[in-house]
Subunit: 270 residues, 2 copies
Amino acid sequence: MAHLVPLADPRDSRVADFVHLRDVQLRKSLEAEHGLFIAEGEKVIRRAVETGHPVRSFLMARRWISALSDVLDRVDAPVYVVDDATAEAVTGYPVHRGALAAMDRLPLPPVRDLVTHARRVLVLEDLVDHGNVGAIFRCAAALGVRAVILSPRCADPLYRRSVKVSMGAVFAVPYARMTDWHGGLAELRDAGFRLLALTPDQSAVPIDKAPMGDRVALMLGSEGDGLSSRWLRAADEAVCIPMSSDAMELGVDSLNVVAAAAIACHSLTR
Amino acid sequence: MAHLVPLADPRDSRVADFVHLRDVQLRKSLEAEHGLFIAEGEKVIRRAVETGHPVRSFLMARRWISALSDVLDRVDAPVYVVDDATAEAVTGYPVHRGALAAMDRLPLPPVRDLVTHARRVLVLEDLVDHGNVGAIFRCAAALGVRAVILSPRCADPLYRRSVKVSMGAVFAVPYARMTDWHGGLAELRDAGFRLLALTPDQSAVPIDKAPMGDRVALMLGSEGDGLSSRWLRAADEAVCIPMSSDAMELGVDSLNVVAAAAIACHSLTR
C-alpha cells in the first residue's frame, strides 16, 4: 500500500524524479540515466500500473488521492502530497491534469522477439516530435497494428508528452528500438516482412492498391525530411497516399505524419 | 512597398496587434474586435498575402527581412524591426519561427454560397483545439475536400496556432461559419447534401462501405464528447471507422479527431 508523505520544500531530494518537466534536454538525460519515465493523469497512471510498470513515487495534490485510491492500495510507493504552488515549483509548470507518477521503465524486447507473431508493423525513422509519436501509437492501438519499431534516433514513446498524447497506448502496443540503423531493416526482411516505404511522392503505388501479403512493415519518415534515401532504397515498394491533384497549387504538398499514419494503419489492416 | 520602422519600446502602441500572443482569451477578444489575425513564419505569411489578406503591419528581427523581400516589395505596410528581446517582450514568447504579420480578416461567405459547387464538405461541430482545426484543414486541402463549415462555437481557423499547424491550408480551403446551430444542417440538406455523422460507435456503417452519392457532408464532433445528440439524430447516416476488436481491451476507445478526419477525408474522396 502506498504511504502518504506531506512535502512542502520543492528542493527536497525525494521529488528529484519530477523536476523541470518542461526542459526536454534535461529530462532526456535524467530519465535515461535513472531508467524512469513520468506518467501524468489518472487514466495514464492506471494503464501504466496495469501493464506492470513499477512505481517509484507519486506526486499529487491532496484532491487527486481519492480518484486513485484503488491504485494506491495496490502499489508500494511513497505519495508526495503537495499544494499547487509546490507542484509548480518542482515541475516548472502548473500541474492541471492531476497526479504524476515516476515509474521504472521495463526492458525493451529485441526487434526479433517483438515481431515473431506480428502481421502488421510500423517502423518509425527519426521522428522528433513526442506528440506525433504518441498520436501514432494511439492510431496503431485503435486500428490493429500490434508492433512498432523505432529507429535508433526516433523520439521516446515514454517521454511525458508522448505518453499523454497516446492516451496510454504506448503501454498497449509493444515496441522495440533498433540498435543498428544500417542493418535493422534486413532483420525485418529476414523475418518475412514485406517492407513498404510511405512517401509523399505521387508516382509511388497508392497504398490502397499495394499488395499486402501476410506480413507487412510500413516505414514512416521524420516530420520534415521523410524517410532517408537509404531506407527508401531498402524498401520492397514505395507507397503513397493519393493527394488531390490541386493540393500543390493550394500550397499543401503533404499530410502531417500523424494523418498519414492514420490512413496508412487503416489501409494496412483493411 | 513596405517601409522599415526600427522599434525598441515593447509598449509602443504601434505594435498593439502583436501583444500577448499566448494569452488565448485576450487574443480571441482582441482579434474579434479588430478583425485581425496573426500569420507567423515566411511560408504562412506568403500564403496569406497571396490569398488576398491585407497586411496591417509586420513585426520581425532584421535577419528575416531578406527572405521576405519579395513580399515586402508588393505590400504597403509598416515593418516594425525589433531585436529578439523586444519581440519577446511584445508577444510574450521567444519568436523562433521568424517574421510575424498582423492581417485583416476577409468577410466569410454565407454557407449557401460556399457549398454551391462543392461535392465533399466537412462540418466541424464545436472543436475546441486550434491545432486540431488547423490539422484538419491541412488534411482537407491535401485530400481534396474543398469546403469546411464550422458550427457557431467551433474554434477559429485563423487563430495563430490553427494557421501554423495548417501550414497555410486555412487560406486554401474555403470555409464558412453557421450562424444557426439548430437549423444549420437543414440548409445543407436542402442544398442536396447527404449528411454523414462520424461516430466511434462501432455499430454504425463502416465509412468505406457507406454510399457516397454526389454530394456528401461529413460531420465531425468535438474532441471530448463527439457530435451532439441533436446532430447525430439529424444525420442521414451514422458512419464509423472500424477499430480493432481488441482496442477497447487495450484501453483505447477512439482515434483522435485529426486521425479520424484524415481517414474520413481519404474515404470521402476515394
